[in-house]
């Protein structure tokens, strides 16, 4: 009889080809003009689900991009049901951002696949799909499976909570499994048990009713480009702390034990330099890199635009300036409360010489999963069986907005079985996925499903 592992050995080239095909579809959910391609990525996935033997495959509508659902429920009532969550949408990408190749014409170079979505999250969704395929095609699937793959993760999953609520029975399960996080290295797996929440907003500062000539008017109008920087500069203390009053009030302090655990997975200087070059560390004093990323909230400027910043020069006094601002939040912080705090603070410091508006965009709660849950311990064993080292237990700096929602609505533990590598450039140019990591990922998920079927 063919084992799932044998099936994997025989089919790895096909799995790679399939991943490339899927990555080639520019399913950019943030761009309304890409709606067709987002749908196309959903259809591609649904077709693959059918061909691997999943049942009840459905492209289910939401108010935005659709959800792809599938299940296989023939392991028996006494076996656990796993709900796999992932997303088939990707961040924007254009070659001008600094890509070496077209982000949607994925290429393989030295065993690494380059393309938008290679790691976040198409590559990792495919790890889940191909593990299930290996189990199903070899007739050895030991538990019940459900899949919930959405198309709006990169825009904050605005419709998913409602969707999960509407389909609670359909989605009911014992454990939720998600592959959308990273590991320390190919040799050193890691298990993320905490995620930061996210609050995004747009700050708009406007002055004159239109762009004015900087000579004709400069010196008697508060320049919105200057005014916005004055506001932004007041969002942090010189020591790197966020200066919004009460911003840190609800943040839980780390225990000494947890700090010791986290210290094992702190980012090394080498890894830091690989990403940052020679930049020195920045941020809150008294916290390690991993603590700043995983256990401390931030307020970041994601973008600013005002006036003319293209080639050459335009002597304008800009009519307005816009900044995209986001906060990463940690366990126990509430994004609604943080939004109100930041908004109120900005309105308080806003000068009366310009108009200031703060627009709310989206909110995601932070999440924390108990480390001693059997589903988490099974994940530790699955990594141990397929990687040279035991996984480090980590806090992730990113957000998967749906994690806290699923936890809340379906009342189940969420296990983050991630495989992304630190150099994967998720959200940046030249996003990549190492193909040997892709294979290790599939093996680990097979082991995990086998391990967890016995609890």
């Amino acid at each position: 009889m063919t084992t799932p592992q044998n099936y994997l050995d025989d089919n790895m080239p096909k799995f790679i080809t399939q991943l490339k095909e899927w990555v080639a579809i520019p399913s950019i959910s943030t761009d309304p003009e890409r709606k067709t391609q987002v749908r196309q990525a959903a259809e591609w996935l649904a077709a693959d689900m059918i061909s691997m033997g999943l049942e009840n495959v459905e492209i289910m509508p939401t108010d935005g991009h659709p959800v792809v659902y599938a299940d296989w429920l023939h392991a028996g009532d006494d076996k656990p049901t796993i709900l796999v969550y992932g997303h088939y949408d990707v961040q924007p990408a254009v070659i001008e951002d600094g890509w070496d190749n077209d982000p949607f014409s994925p290429i393989e170079r030295d065993g690494v696949l380059y393309g938008r979505g290679a790691t976040d999250d198409k590559g990792q969704v495919m790890i889940q799909m191909k593990a299930a395929e290996a189990l199903l095609k070899t007739g050895s699937c030991p538990l019940n499976l459900k899949y919930l793959i959405e198309g709006e993760e990169e825009i904050g999953s605005p419709n998913l909570a409602k969707f999960v609520e509407q389909h609670q029975d359909k989605l009911s399960a014992d454990i939720c499994l998600i592959s959308d996080t990273g590991v320390v290295s190919k040799e050193q797996p890691s298990l993320t048990y905490s995620l930061r929440g996210l609050m995004t907003m747009t700050l708009v500062v406007s002055g004159p009713k239109r762009d004015l000539h900087s000579g004709g008017f400069g010196g008697m109008i508060h320049n919105p480009a200057q005014a916005i920087t004055e506001i932004i500069a007041q969002l942090h203390h010189p020591d790197g702390r966020v200066s919004v009053p009460h911003f840190y009030d609800d943040v839980l302090d780390l225990s000494t034990e947890e700090r010791e655990t986290l210290a094992l997975s702190n980012m090394t200087d080498e890894a830091w330099q690989g990403v940052m070059g020679n930049l020195p560390d920045w941020g809150e004093d008294g916290f390690s890199r991993i603590e700043k990323i995983g256990a401390r909230p931030t307020l970041e400027i994601n973008g600013i635009a005002s006036g003319y910043a293209g080639e050459g020069f335009k002597t304008v006094l800009p009519a307005k300036a816009t900044a995209k601002i986001s906060a990463r939040l940690v366990a126990n912080q509430d994004p609604n409360k943080i939004f109100a705090q930041v908004r109120d603070y900005i309105m308080e410091i806003a000068p009366d010489t310009v108009h200031v508006e703060v627009l709310e965009e989206h909110h995601g709660f932070p999440a924390l999963t108990p480390l001693d849950h059997p589903a988490v311990q099974a994940a530790v064993r699955a990594y141990e069986a397929n990687f040279p080292n035991s996984p480090l237990l980590m806090r992730g700096g990113g957000s998967i907005p749906v994690v806290p929602e699923i936890q809340r609505i379906l009342d189940l533990p969420v296990v983050l079985l991630g495989f992304g590598l630190p150099d994967s450039q998720a959200h940046g140019p030249n996003e990549s996925f190492h193909l040997d990591q892709y294979e290790s990922g599939i093996r680990t998920v097979i082991t995990y499903l086998q391990e967890v079927s016995t609890i």
């Binding site: 990273g182 560390d281 050459g312």
Partner: protein
């Protein structure tokens, strides 16, 4: 016999049509993608000068847009010579900036204005003198020698013209220089500009990580370049609106009581301010009036910022760099070289060790200009306005820069008279730029009167002070 004024009147429609043809050419000098169109505009103008009877030369300087030169010296050596300066290049313009009609498809609207990029800055304004010369040549007579020097880089620094004036000053020798590239508040109160601000522009780049980073995976550990840029920009001004750059005001001439009185003659109160700008309340150095802030005080402005993602939706990144464009407007006796050193030094001192900062001058700076208001040529200009425009002009200090003015003043030793025919509400550099056609024709008449009057002034020796 037809007079030149009659000729201008009976040809007014044709003059407008010619201007429209000229405005259709998108001669955007700040963007190299438009180099062919800049040249097309130069050639169009060259042909126009030849058509009206001037001899021409296309002055080529390597790496620069061509300068259009034209002259008519038929009045003879004993007659006065008037040098006209203008520029045929324009600012960038795209529909997305808020234009109601295509900026390069000029349109005459019912309000009596012609809408197009360059309508007032400066194609429409200098074209008045071309048409005045044509009218004088075609009708009675042209009593003065005329020279036109029309450049194609005013909006991008005017480096070529500045070099040309310094190297070939003799060719441009004249008795007086006329420039129409300025504006007035309303048509009944024409203005002669007697001061211009100089300027210098910079680009500041703040560089952080090697590429954009995921703000979740790295946010909080690295100094965000967009934030760092904001922190630096904030420190460029003091809380009272003055520029914080060390030594910035060292060479600024303080205003005399007389000058403050002259400046106060211009009608420009807070109501006008609010209408022209739409901004909530005035800002700036409180001890100076609004007009003094524009005409007699230097500034440091942020004309553009870009960092990270600012399109539709959001992108959760730490941007790897941030760019700001900075413009300083200078007044007598500041010099761009001195301010360049001071600004760069100041920003470098502000740079934190957590990021890299690069500041560079973007293009050659311009000296400020200040012209005495009591010289005979100014009196002639006043008479020309009274006869041609129908109103007595007042003197005003302008906040903008015309880089060439200080060169013509300092190198050629010419009195420069800035006969602006635009309106403050013409939206120059902004969307829906326009030019009043009534003012176009009044400008032609004023120019005709000026040439006729200046011809009767006593010799230079007698008037030189």
């Amino acid at each position: 016999m037809t007079t030149s004024l009659d000729f201008a009147k009976s040809n007014s429609q044709r003059f407008e049509d010619e201007l429209i043809a000229f405005l259709k050419i998108p001669s955007i000098s700040t963007d190299s993608a438009f180099n062919p169109q800049v040249r097309e505009a130069a050639n169009w103008l060259l042909a126009e000068f030849e058509r009206i009877g001037l001899s021409t030369e296309l002055i080529e300087m390597e790496g620069h847009h061509p300068i259009v030169y034209a002259e008519w010296l038929g009045a003879g050596e004993d007659s006065k010579t008037v040098l006209f300066y203008g520029h045929y290049d324009v600012q960038p313009a795209v529909m997305e900036d808020g234009w109601e009609t295509n900026p390069f498809e000029p349109i005459r609207k019912d309000d009596g204005f012609l809408y197009a990029r360059g309508a007032t800055d400066d194609k429409g304004q200098f074209f008045t003198h071309v048409k005045a010369v044509e009218s004088l040549l075609q009708a009675d007579n042209l009593p003065v020698n005329v020279k036109f020097i029309i450049e194609g880089e005013e909006e991008s620094g005017g480096e070529a013209i500045s070099k040309y004036v310094k190297e070939h000053g003799e060719k441009l020798s004249a008795d007086v220089c006329i420039i129409s590239d300025t504006s007035m508040q309303d048509i009944d109160n024409p203005v002669i500009i007697n001061a211009l601000r100089g300027g210098i522009t910079f680009e500041m780049t703040v560089i952080g990580p090697k590429q954009d980073l995921h703000s979740g995976m790295f946010g909080g550990t690295v100094h965000n370049p967009a934030q760092a840029l904001a922190e630096i920009i904030t420190k460029l001004h003091n809380d009272d609106g003055s520029v914080a750059v060390a030594g910035f005001y060292d060479d600024v001439l303080e205003l005399t009581e007389e000058e403050r009185t002259e400046i106060a003659q211009v009608q420009w109160d807070n109501v006008d301010w609010s209408e022209a700008t739409g901004a909530p309340v005035p800002w700036g150095e409180e001890q100076y009036t609004l007009l003094e802030r524009i005409g007699a005080r230097p500034t440091l402005e942020i004309t553009g910022i870009a960092s990270g993602y600012y399109g539709e939706g959001s992108k959760s990144i730490v941007p790897h760099k941030a760019v700001a464009k900075i413009s300083c407007r200078l007044v007598a006796n500041q010099t761009p070289d001195d301010i360049e050193k001071k600004v760069i030094k100041f920003i470098e001192k502000l740079s934190p060790p957590t990021i890299k900062v690069e500041v560079k001058k973007l293009r050659a700076g311009a000296l400020p200009a200040l012209i005495a208001t009591n010289i005979p040529e100014m009196r002639v200009a006043i008479t020309a306005y009274e006869n041609g425009w129908g109103a007595t002009p007042i003197f005003k200090r302008e906040g903008g820069s015309i880089p060439i003015v200080s060169d013509l003043q300092s190198v050629l030793g010419l009195p420069v008279i800035m006969m602006g025919f635009g309106l403050n509400s013409d939206n120059l550099h902004g969307p829906n730029e326009r030019f009043s056609l009534q003012m176009f024709h009044k400008g032609i008449a004023t120019s005709i009167h000026f040439m006729q009057e200046i011809a009767t002034l006593p010799s230079i020796e007698a008037t030189e002070q």
